[in-house]
Structure formats: structure tokens, C-alpha cells
Symmetry: C2
Subunit: 436 residues, 2 copies
């Protein structure tokens, strides 16, 4: 019996694995000496038996060490942020330049859309010319000169995660808190941030729909990041409705620009302030949340945050004139309004389905080779708790040049909004559900 089969048997039988056993697994996954069938059996055993905090930390650190690790110490304090993903979540686009504007360096490594959720990289690439695949040298230069950078994961960072992620996708082992924790954190820790703030979504548009699961994941993320010597904090926030009004790519950039210029939807602003204040305090620039929020609000109000965003866009090869004139972003070629069939109060939004319909419209990829239509998307006019009269718009569909919604599309989108008689109690989540 090979040593690794012993490890598989031990995990199968519920034993706590040693750091050495877990390191052997990650080494074998990285160098290919552990074949897919053994790695798959390991992942399923972890799903079924779970992992202790110590095992999760061992897995995270071993995956982090499977590739290049970045030393950002010459930049001093560098902040990062992670969201577990949602619909309309463009907080990173605002947060990175806003933090830089108030003196907190923000070096953020972001992802693509996954499942029904959008991806920061896909949104940024709606800006003409914007490049998210930057050499390490450009990342350092941007941190020095602009104070922030928004880049994609490179192949050299946490290669074990790429192989494991591809396997998890086909083996029914995606939904595992230790595996999710290690996947997220191995990349965050490898890219060297001093502090990370986690935005763990909950509700019907989140991967962790139940608040209890979100709490378990959030605590694992915060504890494991701290065990790695990083500052870490986080919030569970509501994803039982889209965040902000825009869902898509170009329209989410436009909404981010509005917020950076001091306008934009209140829920998006509140999310950015919640997460940003934690990082301003972690950086030691303010003592408390209240003064941190004041500092952040000032940079939104006086144009500094938007100015940093323009410089960030130029630094990453993009056309920064979109900041002055968002109409230079890809624009829809048609619009259709989905209106309420009856008046009343919106009691629920099927957020996951809204996200899936957005993907269907071209806002994301169903297959690896799909091409995104950045001009497509939705404008959400009503959310749970809002009153709507019969015939008033619930959502506008923005049609990019390649969008081809089928005959049932609008009916399916309409069905995502539950309109109940006026006075029906609405049980929407508070935006900030709880601090982790």
C-alpha cells in the first residue's frame, strides 16, 4: 500500500491528518505524482469527513507554497479584499482606488465570473484596453505610483489550486468549507497582502445561502489568515438581492464610476465603506470605524477616489476617458423593460436566477470558450421591500450587440420578482448581516 493510500484510508475513516500527510498530498498534486483518481478520492473524503482548523491551515499553507509567493514588504502595508461572489457585486472596483486615495495601498488579485456570479476581471475588461494580466514588475510599479493594482491570478501562483479546482468541478466536491477556504486563501496569502477583509455573502444569490454556512466559512477564512500572520477581518453581507442597480459588465463599471464620483446606489456605498473602514483601521491610519468612514467618504466626495481610478486604468493600459464620459464604455443597442403585472410590494428577488439569466444574456461564460458581451446586462429598479405599481418597471434588460434572449427570457426574468399585496411583511436580510 503506497503511503498516500494510507492517508486516504485515514481520512476516509475520519482521522485528523498530519501536516506532513497534507503536504505530501499537495506536493503530489503539484508535481503530478498523485493521479487524478487518488486526488478525487481525497477531495471526496474531505467533503464527507471535514477538516479541523489545523488541517485546513496545513492545506492552505501547502497550497500557497505550491508555487511562487510574492514578497510585498518593500511596499509597506498592502490591503486585499475577497468576496465569496454575488450578483452585481462591483465593490472591488470602487474599493481599490478609494483605499489608495486615502493612503492605503491596495494590491488585489481578482477572479472571473463563476456559476451565476460576475467576476471583477470580466468587469474591468469592459473598459477599452484594460489589461488584467500584468507582469509582476508592473504590479509593483502600479502599487508604487498609483497605490493600487487590480490583476488576475497568474499560472505561477498556487498551481495546486488550479488542478484541484478543475477536479472539484467534475467530482461534486465544490461545496466544502475547508476546500473553499484553502482555495481562496492559498492565493491571497501567496500574493503577500498585509491585511485581508472578507465579504462573505449569504442569501439566495450566494454560494453559501444559509447564514450558518457563511459564518463557518467566514470564520475559517479569518482564522486561517490570522494563523498565517496576516491581519484579517470580515463581514457577512446580504446577497438575497443584487448589489447596486447594475448587473453586467460595462454597466457595473459605470455604476462604480458614479460611486467613485460621490454618487451611486446606497447599498453599494455602504458595502464599500464597511469593508474599507476595516482596512483603513488595519493600516493604522485611523483608530476607529467612524473616523475611517469619514476619511473614505471625503475621498469619494472630493474626486480623489475617481482620480485614482483614472490613473489605475491608464496604468493598466485602459482608456481612462471613461471616467469623465462613461458613454465611452460599450453600450447596449436595445432595451426592454420588464414591468410589474400587479401592484404591491416586492417580497423576494430570486437572485441566483437573475445571475443565471445575466449569464444567458452574455454577461458571463457558460463554457470556457464563451465570449462575454460587455454591453449586456440588467438595471434593477425594485428590490425586496420596495413598493411597485402595476405597469411600473421591475428591471430593464440592456441588450448588447450579441445578446439574443429567447422568447421566454422576459417571462423568466419577471418570475424572479415576487410581488405580494401591499402590506405583506418582507423578510429581507439587513445589508450587514454580522461581523465575522
Amino acid at each position: 500500500m503506497s503511503l498516500f493510500v494510507r492517508t486516504l484510508v485515514r481520512k476516509r475513516d475520519g482521522a485528523e491528518l498530519t501536516e506532513g500527510e497534507i503536504a505530501e498530498f499537495v506536493r503530489g498534486v503539484t508535481d503530478g505524482t498523485i493521479p487524478d483518481e487518488q486526488a478525487a478520492a481525497f477531495l471526496m473524503a474531505v467533503c464527507c469527513r471535514g477538516m479541523t482548523t489545523a488541517e485546513t491551515a496545513s492545506l492552505t499553507f501547502a497550497m500557497m507554497r505550491s508555487g511562487e509567493t510574492w514578497d510585498l514588504s518593500r511596499h509597506g502595508f498592502v490591503a486585499d479584499k475577497h468576496s465569496t461572489g454575488g450578483v452585481g457585486d462591483k465593490a472591488t472596483l470602487v474599493l481599490a482606488p478609494l483605499l489608495a486615495a486615502v493612503g492605503v495601498k491596495a494590491g488585489m488579485m481578482s477572479g472571473r465570473g463563476l456559476g451565476h456570479t460576475g467576476g471583477t476581471l470580466d468587469k474591468l475588461e469592459a473598459i477599452p484596453g484594460f489589461r488584467t494580466a500584468l507582469p509582476r514588475g508592473d504590479f509593483d510599479r502600479l502599487l508604487e505610483t498609483v497605490g493600487c493594482a487590480l490583476v488576475g491570478q497568474t499560472d505561477s501562483v498556487a498551481p495546486a489550486d488550479r488542478r484541484l479546482y478543475a477536479l472539484r468541478d467534475v467530482t461534486g466536491t465544490v461545496e466544502s468549507i475547508p476546500l473553499i477556504t484553502a482555495s481562496i486563501l492559498s492565493k491571497k496569502l501567496a500574493t503577500g497582502a498585509s491585511a485581508v477583509v472578507f465579504d462573505v455573502k449569504t442569501g439566495n444569490g450566494a454560494f453559501m445561502a444559509e447564514t450558518g454556512d457563511a459564518r463557518t466559512l467566514g470564520r475559517a477564512l479569518v482564522e486561517t489568515a490570522r494563523a498565517a500572520g496576516r491581519k484579517a477581518s470580515g463581514w457577512i453581507t446580504a446577497m438575497d438581492r443584487p448589489l447596486g442597480e447594475a448587473v453586467g459588465n460595462a454597466n457595473e463599471v459605470e455604476e462604480s464610476i458614479r460611486l467613485l464620483g460621490g454618487e451611486g446606489p446606497a447599498d453599494l456605498r455602504e458595502t464599500v465603506l464597511l469593508l474599507g473602514a476595516d482596512l483603513v483601521v488595519a493600516a493604522g491610519l485611523e483608530k476607529g470605524e467612524k473616523s475611517a468612514r469619514t476619511r473614505l467618504n471625503a475621498a469619494l466626495a472630493d474626486g480623489r477616489a475617481l482620480d485614482v481610478f483614472a490613473r489605475l486604468i491608464r496604468g493598466q493600459g485602459g482608456d481612462s476617458s471613461v471616467c469623465d464620459d462613461p458613454r465611452r464604455l460599450p453600450r447596449p443597442v436595445g432595451r426592454r423593460t420588464v414591468a410589474a403585472a400587479e401592484g404591491g410590494v416586492v417580497t423576494a428577488a430570486a437572485t441566483r436566477e437573475i445571475g443565471l439569466l445575466a449569464i444567458e444574456l452574455g454577461c458571463g461564460r457558460r463554457n470556457k470558450h464563451d465570449v462575454i458581451d460587455p454591453a449586456s446586462g440588467f438595471r434593477i429598479h425594485r428590490k425586496p421591500g420596495d413598493v411597485v405599481a402595476k405597469g411600473e418597471p421591475l428591471v430593464t434588460v440592456e441588450l448588447g450587440p450579441t445578446a439574443k434572449p429567447n422568447a421566454t427570457f422576459e417571462a423568466r426574468l419577471h418570475a424572479c420578482f415576487t410581488v405580494s399585496p401591499a402590506g405583506t411583511p418582507v423578510s429581507a436580510l439587513p445589508l450587514a448581516v454580522e461581523r465575522l
Copy 2:
């Protein structure tokens, strides 16, 4: 998400799978459309979550239908037997000709040695010329003319089992009662026996060392075989010491010939009678166990059983003169006696280790390409409960022409026997632990 990933997620989360989901899995394993990593994840999920009786039956039947199924109805009643494997277990060699001698057709499909246990096919092949790979036509002819046949599994029977078994071996998913049940029974059911008796071993030389596990497996085997419309019964028997005196290949054939001629060790005879009586009753030849044993004993005493064995050997291409003169079997070229260092009572035999030492001596294969030395083996002189004087033999090592035991071999074999001061209580299992 592919349909099969949904099945993986359902099993992972503890759901009971439908017959259709399980059939889809077996189909995909057989035709190769389910890749190794998905099959491995399924196997691990089954290990962790278990299977209900209905799921186990669905898996068994689907695996049975993955290849050729034999219709033996033209032979009338045909008996089969399955042992979960042990050290010195040559019961099949005696049982098949004995049953034929009393009028019960016995068509038995046997296996090779596995882990620390010996294999019926390997033992039979110690007989010069004996062939275990027989075309289906020869199998039928032997059942007609001799009344019994002892053959190996062909590639066309239960091909899904072969692929799954190879995967289980490398993914730490061997020890699962539903998977073991389906593996054993899919083959037994495919080869069309009317009745099967199960000999489930327990004790330190069994795969199911704990009696509770042996009982769970045994009941699953009996219930699932009955669900397939076959007669089925079984016993849990002791494997906390080798069965009989000979452990090896040629020496086990010689011991079988002695028993077929009315001699041989009492524990081997008792095991054969226990299993044989069930099949004589199942065949309807006798009403009760007592008269069935009388019938079997008579055929051992008067030479009929040995005569059938000689005809079976000839029918399968072997040299049947070994029945008259067992010295024509491959013979050891040297012997070494391992004697007791102190007098007292043998309180335990490390049966699994004895089996592993036999493999090391050449009685079995550690790797697929190893060649067996049929003349090598052990003669066990003392078992738990036996008194031994200082210097008296515990076991004799029989060295075949290629046996090359290393310097520590005898010391390690000696250490397999625990000799305690006379009067120490011995807690050996009864030979027949319980009826299933």
C-alpha cells in the same frame, strides 16, 4: 453540471441513490464514459456515506449486467461457494468434488490470492497441467460429465468489477461493505449458480477482523443474493489461526487430497461439512443438516470424493496421478523448523502476518508479475490452545526451489506465535462463530 456530478453530490450529502443513478454509474464505468476521477469520488462517497440494502442490490445487479451472464438452467441445481479469504483456506478444493460425489453439481468460479490470503486458482495450478482458464463449453461439459468445475473469472463476466476493483485498490476504498458485497456477488450471480453458501471469515487473519463487520458483510451477501432469486446461506468462521496445517499451494493440494480420502485435519473437515451441508439441503437432497453431514462423510470415507477430484483434474488438463501419489506435486527442496523458545500454551497466532510471510516465501504475489513457487509453504504444528514444550516445533518452513527467506525470516515467523505460561486462558474463536 453533468447528471453524474449531481449523483456525486447527492451521495456526498448522504442521499439514497435511485436504481437509475446507480445503473448510470455502472454503465459509465463499463463503457469508459465516466472518467477515473469521477468513479473514484463515487467510491469514496460510498465508503463514507454507506449504502442502503436497496442501493447495494442495485449496484450488484448493475455490475452483474455489465457483462456476460451465464444461464446454467440446463444443468438443474448448481451450487457455488464464496469465502472472504484467509490463510490455509483450501475448502473449495475439497468441497467441489465432495458435493459432486453426493449428487450436487458444483460450478465454482474462484480467485487468485489477495493481500495476505491464498487463492484457490493458485493452489490448483500447483497440480501439473491443471488449467483454470476454461472456455464456457468446457465448463458445461465438466458439469455434465464430472459434476463439478473449478475455473477462474473470465474477462467477459462483470467487467465493471475489474475496473472498479483496480480503482479501489489505489484510492483507499477497498474496505466498504456495499462495495465488497457488489464485487463478490456481481460475479457469483453472473455465473448463474442456483445456491451460494458464504464463508465469511473473522479474526486477525480475516479482511473483516471484527465479528460485527463480518456479520454486516455476511448478511448483506445473503440478503442481496436472495433478492436476486438465489438460495443463499452462510457462516461466520474463525480465521484467528490458519485453517488446517498446510499453508502454501502444493502442500494445500496434498492436504485436500488427504481430506478427500477421509483423513486430514479436523478443522478443515468441519469447515467443509458446515458449508457442504447447507448446499446439500439447498439442493433438496436431504432435509436436515445432520443427514446432509452423514451423506458427505460417507463420500469422504469411501473414496467417491477423491475419485471425483481425480476426474476433475483430468477434465481440466491436470495430472490426476497426484491423487494416488501426492509426492508427484512440486516438492520442497529444504525444510527449517521454527521451535518454541519456551514451553507453555500458544495463546495467539498472528495469522495475517503468517500469511504475509508465506507470500514473502513465494506462495503468493506481491506484484502482478511475481511468479509463485508452488512448493513453498508452511506446516503449522501448533495453534492457539495447544500446549508446546520448549524446543518443540511450532511451524516448519518448506522451501521451494526459488524460496530465499532472509536472515530475519524465521525470527519473524517465530514472533507470530505467542507462547504464554501453561494455564494462561486462551480466547480463540470457535470454528463456527455463527450462522448468518
